[in-house]
């Protein structure tokens, strides 16, 4: 059963990746598209907690780093999504389960994830961009992720609950 669950998690992340790269590019705003993979990791963190979300974040990040047309230094999205998985999982323990809280968690995770990725780029000079450009992209991606949250997050959370109900609920 565990392998089936892992396979389903991989399928969810893959679907998010392909949608992000091939479908949402039609509606990109300044080239920025909603980060669906990040939303999947946040959803996993809210249902299953830090440990699972960090593992999923690492896998999903490696996928984002290596699947075409990615060309940046591999491991940067993996790092960003591991951090997102940890923080979102920790936050899920302390917040009241309201819509506002979910949106706030997504906004914080999106800001954190894109920023960690951008900062790792600044450190590696890959590519050599200026801070205002980075901030603009971070801002737009937070807005995009918030817009897509009502459509994606409930689906993801229901899926992870169905996958392993005994782990999701105390």
């Amino acid at each position: 059963m565990t392998s089936v669950r892992a396979l389903l998690a991989v399928a969810a992340v893959s679907l998010a990746l392909v949608l992000q790269v091939s479908v949402f590019s039609y509606v990109s705003w300044q080239g920025v598209v909603p980060n669906l993979v990040l939303l999947v990791v946040v959803g996993a963190a809210l249902v299953r907690g830090s440990q699972f979300a960090m593992l999923l974040g690492f896998g999903a990040g490696v996928l984002l780093d290596l699947a075409p047309p990615a060309d940046h230094v591999a491991g940067r999205w993996a790092l960003a999504l591991v951090v997102v998985g940890y923080v979102a999982g920790r936050v899920a323990l302390d917040i009241k389960p309201t819509v506002t809280a979910a949106l706030a968690t997504v906004a914080a995770s999106s800001f954190l994830g894109t920023s960690v990725f951008a900062l790792s780029g600044l450190l590696l000079r890959d590519p050599p961009l200026t801070v205002p450009d980075l901030l603009q992209v971070v801002g737009i991606s937070v807005v995009w992720d918030l817009v897509l949250t009502p459509f994606v997050l409930p689906l993801v959370m229901v899926m992870f609950q169905r996958l392993e109900p005994e782990r999701a609920m105390p």
Partner: protein, 310 residues
């Protein structure tokens, strides 16, 4: 309310069942170290890093999926056009656009062609440009700006005769070059990527320089031109074409790139920097052509230099 209560238990409870609370410190450290290792391996490996074969394998898996997804979405993305215009009008517009692009390209390169003749290098340049054909391909995936690199996936790969370091063009001009190929797809580095450097030649003055991408998509997909001869002041609205590399890789010569929109003079070292507005609209890339040597065996129709299909 029942649902709310249900959620309350799931999110807000201070449960400490395995996998919910604080993750083991060993796991946190292990994952962070794994990321750091991956970054280090790929960063210092460069183009022959150990990550590259994995990247290619991933491309073999996800490339075809992206091709399928793009094929499904393309008709849907075209629906808005159905409401604004009839079928016949659309095909007419397409024809006119193609004609327009061809004319524009002629105008854009007119100065360059004149100079070429004047300098009697026509023979060698023509020999170079005659030997090429185009493999048509469509863009099936775009790298998001969140990743801060401008790359796209196209639906032609090694089976269509593509190899790394081939020039990619479209109706309007230079698009970029191929970074890596899989059996059925290829990854293209766009001209505007911050890592992209192209040799450029100003059409009117024949001065050569280097075109650097700025790495921003959106409305500011601009390029910076640094001229090698720093005493020359480039003129506004001059057309810039590719300078060309030896044996046409990665860039063939004479492909229109863009028009000079602004010129900056640096008073301190009296150098010139020009900003180029590319002819290609990178936000709406679809049909592109990959420049291959004439006679390349391909699994699809190849457009030869004289316009015939093979």
């Amino acid at each position: 309310m029942a649902l709310d209560h249900h959620r309350e238990r799931r999110w807000g409870s201070a449960d400490r069942t395995p996998g919910r609370g604080q993750p083991p410190r060993a796991l946190v450290v292990a994952l962070l170290l794994a990321c750091a290792t991956l970054i280090t391996l790929d960063y210092h490996g460069g183009s022959d890093s150990p990550v590259e074969p994995v990247r290619r394998a991933m491309g073999e898996v996800y490339g075809p999926v992206e091709v399928t997804a793009a094929a499904v979405v393309r008709p849907v993305a075209a629906i808005p056009r159905w409401f604004t215009t009839h079928d016949s009008m659309r095909s007419e517009i397409d024809d006119l656009e193609a004609e327009n692009a061809a004319l524009r390209q002629q105008v854009n390169t007119a100065g360059y062609d004149r100079n070429k003749l004047a300098e009697y290098d026509g023979l060698t340049a023509a020999a170079g440009t005659l030997g090429y054909a185009l493999v048509p391909a469509r863009v099936v995936g775009m790298g998001p700006s969140q990743s801060f690199s401008s790359t796209v996936t196209i639906d032609a790969g090694a089976r269509s005769g593509l190899r790394p370091d081939m020039t990619v063009v479209n109706n309007d001009g230079l698009v970029g070059r191929i970074l890596r190929v899989t059996a059925t797809t290829a990854t293209v580095l766009l001209l505007i990527d911050a890592d992209s450097v192209v040799g450029g030649r100003v059409g009117e003055s024949m001065e050569i320089g280097m075109l650097h991408g700025r790495g921003v998509l959106g409305d500011e997909g601009r390029l910076d031109l640094d001229l090698i001869d720093e005493s020359v002041v480039p003129r506004k609205f001059d057309t810039v074409v590719t300078w060309g590399s030896e044996s046409g890789a990665p860039y063939v010569a004479g492909v229109p790139v863009g028009r000079i929109s602004t010129v900056f003079s640096n008073l301190r070292d009296s150098s010139q920097r020009a900003v180029i507005e590319p002819f290609v609209d990178f936000g709406a890339l679809d049909l592109v052509g990959v420049v291959v040597p004439s006679g390349t065996s391909s699994d699809r129709a190849v457009i030869e230099a004289d316009g015939s299909l093979r």
